[in-house]
Amino acid sequence: MPDQKRVNIWRAFLNRPNTDSAKTLGVAFLVALGCSVIVSLTAIYLKPLLDANRLRESAGSLVEIVDALGVPVPQVRLVERTSGEYLSRATSDKAALDPDQDLAGLKEVENTLTAYEVRDGARLTLVILPVRGAGYKSTLHGYLALKADLNTIAALTFYQQDETPGMGARIMEKKWQDLWRDKKTADATGAIQIRVVTGAASGIYEVDGISGATRTGNGVSNLVKFWLGTNGYGPYLARLKQQGDG
């Protein structure tokens, strides 16, 4: 009877003293095996849901901004950072930034940038730029959308940050993000003027700060300034303007 024999081996194993090294190895092996089987089964069973969540996470913010503005699906463009020209293929190299140019606290930045253009026929109506930069204690990730004149903000959203809850983290609130709508980015000379001020804002270049989050506000000001400037999307935006696309 093979069954009977197997049970006997199992019994004999369990009956061995706990100090026995064969039993120690056996218990360790069985516990590890049991745990890994259960964990693997859970992971396999939940994988479709997890993947869907992660995908939604990265795409969500862009979808949100496009939905909120009620515009058609944008076209993805690869842009060479220094020249502002379109590229057909992305390169993965990065350029180091001088500390005095590194407003967003990034240390280095990719040479190929991604931008999303929304067109109505041939006419450009919206440009969406992925932006990121140092806040008070985390890196802020978001999208900045510019209207056709490339000088008016259509929307600014953030989708990832780890600032202080109730203070800096309030940059995620729609109420605050809505303050950016229709603000102007640069003055007549082309200098970037838009910034977050402490307290109440006045004029078209200022956005109200959040109570107790001066440094997060400064971080947002700086990252917007950086990405619109010559080290960010500046050359690309200048080229679009020159083409009369705007």
Binding site: L14, N18, T19, D20, K23, T24, V27, A28, V31, A32, C35, S36, I38, V39, T42, A43, L46, L49, L50, N53, R56, E57, T164, P165, G166, M167, S211, G212
Partner: protein, 207 residues
């Protein structure tokens, strides 16, 4: 005083206020009631199942690899909880970030495994696990409610105190959104429990 393993850890031998265990996560996840609730549920799941599992095989755990076996079981349960949260409660799991994963190092879980499950049969171990987890949970929920209420005027995201910004009377206390406030609230809670039950206070320190 009750000796029931389910009732004893609720106040008399509460893991947080009496034994002062597991306070790191109590401080970190109590910024809102919803995160406290999810964290409590996760701990109840992990603690009760780890106690039962370890108690069931306790006679066959060699002393030399005792802790490794316990941690393996606890860690597996924690991974399962983490995966389930990421699959079904993605938004909340993002806010809980590493703290669900850190249940592995929560002293309450390993402490109950060592102190109780290794010495008792599965049924009392289950009760002990559930009791301790609830002892942890009610404190988390209390601190979470107070912090969310005072920091944002809301409970589970519903407005309770009308903010000055929205034309009401309530100015939110930003201090309550910061981690130290959980320490202060915990201190006040321990003080209240020990005022009512003076036998829990430590002996005067001999200097």
């Amino acid at each position: 005083m009750s000796t029931n393993p389910l009732v004893k850890p609720i106040i008399a031998e509460n893991p947080v206020t009496f034994q002062v265990l597991g306070i790191c996560s109590a401080l970190a996840v109590t910024t809102s009631l919803s995160t406290s609730l999810v964290m409590s549920a996760a701990l109840i799941f992990v603690l009760s199942l780890s106690n039962v599992t370890i108690s069931t095989i306790r006679a066959h755990i060699p002393n030399s690899i005792r802790l490794i076996v316990q941690i393996t079981i606890i860690a597996s349960l924690v991974i399962i909880v983490d995966l389930v949260l990421q699959a079904y409660l993605f938004e909340i799991s993002k806010r809980l970030s590493v703290f669900v994963g850190l249940i592995v190092t929560n002293c309450i879980v390993l402490g109950r495994a060592e102190a109780y499950a290794m010495k008792n049969s599965p049924w009392p171990s289950l009760l002990d696990g559930i009791g301790n987890a609830f002892g942890y949970a009610w404190i988390l929920l209390l601190i979470g409610s107070v912090r969310e209420l005072l920091a944002a005027g809301t409970l589970m995201g519903h407005e309770v105190f009308v903010l000055v910004d929205n034309g009401g009377w309530f100015t939110p206390l930003l201090l309550m959104a910061l981690p130290p406030s959980a320490f202060f609230l915990l201190a006040v809670l321990v003080w209240i429990v020990r005022t009512i039950r003076p036998e829990q206070a430590e002996q005067e320190e001999q200097v």
